[in-house]
């Protein structure tokens, strides 16, 4: 009886095809907004089919075109100290050029990708397993790490944790390079528990010290730019960690961390905040989903599917409650308008000013999210940037022209202006605008005003 009732209640949830609002919600949260092409596919699917399609589409093996220098790291012919002023200057110029090229490359990848969920997850993991070019000082290693994040983005979290811990950029970023027996460096040991797996309060200071000893010897061979296990630096003495004793190495310690259900809970909560609501959290859903995640042996796609099919994800009260990150705002706007900008370099600078400089998060916790994006200086700059897009300055192709084309592309002849406005309202905004729409304006001006509405900053 109850099952029957449940099925009936759930029926509308799974059977009906997605309307424009739902399709936009799904893609706003999981990709960089909804494109025309995606809407044509999604409008024939129900929620379950849509989520399955989205995940399967993005699970395919995929590797974007890499920058031309991807396989040739910048090598110093001699140490900086021994270079002449001129040599040093040339090296620094080359270095800066590569860093810029790296940032442009990823931004371009996001702008044109056919697997936006995969890119979005890569960005998510970049913000979880953070590293910064400022400390790593190697565009080559940051690119390798980025590839690793992309490959594992929808894979297995346990495997992911092991490989990222041996990733050269990570080792340099969290100082494991200098973690040696008798002279441990605790930076990695602490952050792996505090930020990557368990969260504060689920380990002691002693666990930090003991596990730091287990990671001793995980180093980077700086000539080959590869991970190396240096046995003579490893501490082979017994360690006592999270209630277990043994002669642990780094892999053992990571496995003990993965045995804790708290790790699954911590990651599930982070997904909930990213995809559903970062403020109002349904704890029983966290418990239910983290249990499934743990039992799936940390399968990330399973976790994501559960999150996206949770009634909370589709609930009205959880719509338009998240703030777009600067990357989402900029990449999403250009994708929604079908613009491939010629000058991506200027976008890199805008992102830096908006405090989301790719490959350079502010600290090991990554970028803070949600309303933290909205301080007064960022709000001003966000508005200014969007206005500039709508005026078409700096962009290779005039946005206003694009808008005109879109109008012709989307609708059959004879459709009323009101219907068109209604479509664009739902296509661009997650809820009704704050500033009322003036129907007398031309469509392209109406669209420009929709993008400048405060609600456009939300997803």
């Amino acid at each position: 009886m109850f099952t029957k009732l449940f099925v009936i209640l759930m029926l509308p949830f799974v059977t009906f095809a997605l309307n424009l609002k739902d399709a936009k919600h799904l893609m706003d949260r999981t990709s960089f907004g909804l494109t025309q092409k995606e809407f044509q596919i999604l409008k024939n699917k129900n929620k379950k089919e849509a989520v399955n399609w989205l995940i399967n589409q993005n699970k395919k093996d995929y590797e974007p075109d890499l920058p031309s220098w991807a396989n040739s790291p910048l090598i110093k012919t001699k140490p900086m100290k021994k270079m002449s002023t001129q040599e040093r200057k040339i090296f620094r110029q080359k270095y800066r050029k590569r860093v810029l090229s790296l940032k442009i490359w990823w931004l371009k990848t996001m702008l044109k990708t056919e697997t936006p969920l995969r890119e979005k997850m890569t960005l998510f993991w970049h913000n979880h397993f953070t590293s910064s070019i400022k400390k790593v000082r190697s565009p080559y290693l940051m690119l390798k790490q980025n590839e690793l994040l992309r490959q594992n983005a929808l894979g297995n979290f346990g495997v992911f944790l092991h490989v990222i811990s041996k990733d050269p950029a990570m080792i340099l970023y969290l100082d494991n390079q200098s973690n040696k027996k008798q002279k441990a460096n605790e930076n990695f040991a602490r952050e792996v528990m505090e930020l990557f797996t368990l969260g504060v309060g689920h380990y002691s200071e002693k666990d930090v010290k003991e596990s730091a000893r287990a990671y001793t010897g995980w180093h980077v061979n700086l000539k080959k730019m590869k991970f190396v296990y240096v046995k003579k630096f490893h501490d082979y003495h017994e360690k006592s960690f999270l209630g277990e004793n043994g002669n642990f190495d780094g892999d053992d310690v990571l496995n003990i961390i993965l045995k804790k259900k708290q790790t699954a809970k911590f990651i599930t909560l982070k997904f909930y905040k990213e995809f559903i609501n970062d403020n109002d959290i349904n704890q029983s859903e966290i418990a239910r989903i983290s249990d499934i995640f743990y039992r799936s042996n940390y399968d990330i796609s399973t976790l994501l599917k559960e999150i996206l099919l949770s009634p909370e994800f589709w609930s009205e009260k959880n719509r338009a409650v998240l703030v777009k990150s600067p990357v989402e705002l900029i990449v999403g706007t250009l994708r929604a308008l079908d613009i491939q900008p010629k000058n991506v370099k200027s976008l890199v600078y805008i992102l830096k000013q908006l405090k989301q400089d790719l490959f350079d998060p502010p600290n090991v916790k990554g970028w803070s999210s949600g309303v933290d994006w909205l301080d007064s200086s960022s709000v001003l700059l966000r508005n200014q940037t969007i206005s500039r897009f709508t005026r078409g300055k700096e962009m290779g192709k005039k946005v206003s022209m694009m808008m005109q084309e879109k109008e012709n592309f989307t609708f059959k002849k004879g459709i009323s202006k009101n219907k068109k406005i209604e479509f664009f309202k739902e296509y661009f905004l997650p809820m009704d605008p704050i500033h009322p729409i003036n129907h007398k304006y031309k469509i392209k001006k109406i669209i420009a005003n929709l993008l400048k509405d405060p609600v456009y900053q939300l997803k």
Partner: protein
């Protein structure tokens, strides 16, 4: 009277001043400004004010200690890092207080948790919903133009949480330029979306501040940045001085400098940052002295924690506990406050604190601003440094 009531009604309707219980008891703030300098990442106090008279210092820091003959002595036990020459000048003028052994009970060594404890003035195991400064202004509402300004790329810090008027700007000129386009928003109480409400409040604050800056800000031609260095910290200090000279009623301005998280190759990194810090403070002092506002400011530093006494294998230091801090201003009781922590009696390898940072805050609230203290600070005896 009518006017005033109408004004309050407008503010309440706009949602800005909800939760402002003491509004009618508003009190003039006598142009007293607190400048907060956040040393981000956890500055190593042991290499800032250096116990060169203690041989343990050199034993525990074989690679990263500062040579005795380079240290600027304060007494025969401690001295300034060589990069802090300009601070020594201020110290000799009696305008610098050195706050030693600052920390709190049950210290936490996570950057994020520890800075939260400092910024909310909470107990180590207590989570509060607003910063200590936010709480002060919620309980002692003054008619400030703005309760706080964050200058440069930086966070709200102790001004987080709802109910006070804060503004976060790159610099005043950019703010004026960018805010011109912002559309006025009609108050709408029917919005329940938290993020949207937040955004609309930020926009309202921008529009209010836009008028204020247009009216009051002195031009950069009148007060030039001559005498200030070119780095971004000095630029922020210049803009801070400019706002103070513009006679805004703003009790708090926050700036920051970093990163002091020197896990590796500390010596050069810290030397560079400390020089920027000391020079910036000296430039700021000169500008205010020249313009006669030196007695109206109190500058105080804070940081999430100090660093481990023993160096690590990468010529750096890991997260520690107690730390040294500075307070500067014309009305300060210059000199040494608190005790320099012992290097032999350590707390699990870290310095022990003897001065709770909340004693400093408490003095700021009552002795500097002349406000009623807040519950979370009450039980900490005021440090007499103002």
């Amino acid at each position: 009277m009518l006017e005033r009531r109408g004004f309050i009604k407008y503010l309440t309707a706009s949602g800005l001043f909800l939760g402002f219980p003491g509004f009618l008891n508003a009190k003039e703030l006598n142009g007293k400004t607190l400048i907060l300098v956040e040393l981000k990442g956890g500055n190593d106090g042991l290499n800032t004010i250096i116990p060169y008279g203690d041989s343990l210092y050199y034993d525990l820091r074989k690679n990263i200690s500062i040579e005795k003959n380079k240290i600027i002595p304060i007494n025969n036990h401690i001295g300034f890092h060589p990069s802090l020459a300009k601070l020594n000048d201020i110290y000799k003028d009696g305008d610098l207080a050195i706050l030693q052994g600052v920390g709190y009970e049950n210290p936490n060594k996570s950057h994020f948790r520890s800075i939260e404890i400092w910024e909310s003035a909470s107990q180590s195991n207590e989570y509060l919903e607003n910063g200590w400064i936010t709480n002060v202004f919620l309980n002692n509402s003054a008619q400030n133009d703005l309760d706080g300004i964050v200058m440069g790329k930086n966070s709200l810090g102790p001004m987080f949480g709802k109910g006070i008027k804060t503004l976060d700007i790159d610099n005043p000129d950019k703010f004026i330029k960018r805010s011109k386009q912002m559309k006025n928003i009609v108050a709408n109480n029917s919005i329940h979306d938290r993020a949207l409400n937040y955004l609309l409040n930020v926009q309202k604050e921008i529009i209010n501040s836009r008028e204020l800056f247009a009216q009051k800000l002195i031009s950069s031609k009148k007060f030039t940045n001559r005498g200030f260095s070119k780095n971004s910290f000095s630029k922020d200090m210049y803009e801070t001085a400019r706002v103070i000279l513009s006679d805004f009623k703003v009790p708090v301005i926050k700036v920051s400098l970093g990163s002091f998280d020197t896990h590796s190759y500390q010596v050069n990194k810290q030397a560079k940052l400390l020089k920027i810090f000391a020079d910036g403070l000296a430039e700021f002092k000169n500008a205010l002295k020249e313009n006669g506002n030196w007695d109206d400011i109190l500058l105080v530093t804070y940081s999430e924690f100090g660093r481990r006494v023993r160096e690590n294998a990468s010529k750096g230091t890991d997260h520690g506990k107690a730390n040294v801090h500075f307070a500067m201003g014309g009305k300060i009781k210059g000199g040494l406050h608190g005790k320099y922590p012992s290097l032999s009696d350590l707390d699990d390898g870290d310095l022990r604190y003897n001065l709770d940072f909340k004693s400093i805050y408490n003095a700021i609230v009552e002795d500097w601003w002349g406000y009623k203290t807040i519950n979370r600070l009450k039980k900490y005896d005021k440090l007499t440094f103002i």
